[in-house]
Symmetry: C2
Subunit: 178 residues, 2 copies
DNA sequence: GTCTATAATTTGATAGAC
DNA sequence: GTCTATCAAATTATAGAC
């Protein structure tokens, strides 16, 4: 365990609790058992520290995604899409919890998130067309909204893992996938 | 237009842009064309100022809700539930935009929001049971998640009003309401 | 009700030693 | 890599005059 990692861990914890803006570098140093100076030597600024955490988080997420989304056919793709939010969150719960908290107000978090999502979302319209849905565009928008809601509700503990899983099953039924 | 109202307007605008924590009372005074001192004379503290805005917002929302939700039957209730997020946001767009931004990190915002939602949400399970749905509990959780997603996506301009309306129509079809 | 002036802390960040 | 000491600016809030 390096001091650098201690700082990253402390930051993730504190940013999740109170947000980046409300977390002082002093409180991070205290939590990480280091000096404030070391934070700036390692990461340059408080924003640099946040960006390092986010960058790493999305790199891991992309790895997960490419492993998870081995394309087979339209039906499989839809099933995977429904399963994705729970799987992804479980692969890095603490990171996604922080992202949930800071996304609406933090431009850095938003930028990385949008870059991450765009490619997968664009494909969904084709899938719905392929499956013969009327108005594939709105079907896509709605499913994206649901997927987005599932990970956010799960990671913020508004629903349990069991509820999230039940929802995934129900959705697959509604889309005639099982 | 009183100075008090100017302060409230300026605060709503700035809290929406950057969040409560990142907005200084100095910037509020500047935007409202007043002195900082007056903010504290009127509202006691920065938190008091936020609470005043939120309290008023939810008072208006409750008024809207009681007017909107005249109970008729289970089908009507479901239709109204689906229409609610768009209607509610349109009745006070700027307020809900702020709420969207600050909810995940702000305990005051969360407290008022939960108090506001709980009564309406509890009724939904009965409705799904009455309509003969299997597993009314999960159906309720899913619909709440969708409703929540609609207002948040709409108010943060991730979807347009047209998209939101199309989603509402699509949902009513999926629930066999039209 | 409203302002100017100011106090008391906190904050992000740097210098420089080891 | 890591720490102590320190700075300049910003922040919330108050005192007191009009």
């Amino acid at each position: 365990m390096s001091k650098k990692q201690d700082i990253l861990d402390a930051t993730l914890k504190l940013f999740t609790e109170n947000g980046a803006r409300a977390t002082s570098t002093k409180s991070i140093a205290l939590q990480a058992n280091t000096s404030e100076a070391l934070i700036f030597k390692h990461f340059g600024s408080k924003d640099g520290l946040l960006e390092e955490i986010i960058k790493t988080g999305y790199q891991d997420a992309v790895k997960f995604l490419t492993q998870f989304f081995v394309y087979q056919n339209a039906q499989e793709y839809l099933i995977k899409t429904i399963d994705l939010p729970i799987m992804l969150v479980n692969s890095n719960f603490d990171f996604w919890r922080m992202q949930y908290k800071i996304l609406p107000l933090n431009p850095i978090a938003q930028q990385y998130h949008n870059n991450f999502l765009n490619p997968s979302e664009n494909k969904l319209t084709d899938i719905f067309n392929e499956l013969g849905y009327q108005n594939a565009q709105i079907e896509r928008d709605l499913l994206i909204l649901v997927i987005d809601g599932i990970w956010k509700n799960y990671v913020s503990e508004k629903i349990t893992l069991e509820q999230a899983n039940s929802m995934a099953v129900l959705l697959k039924k509604k889309y005639n996938l099982i």
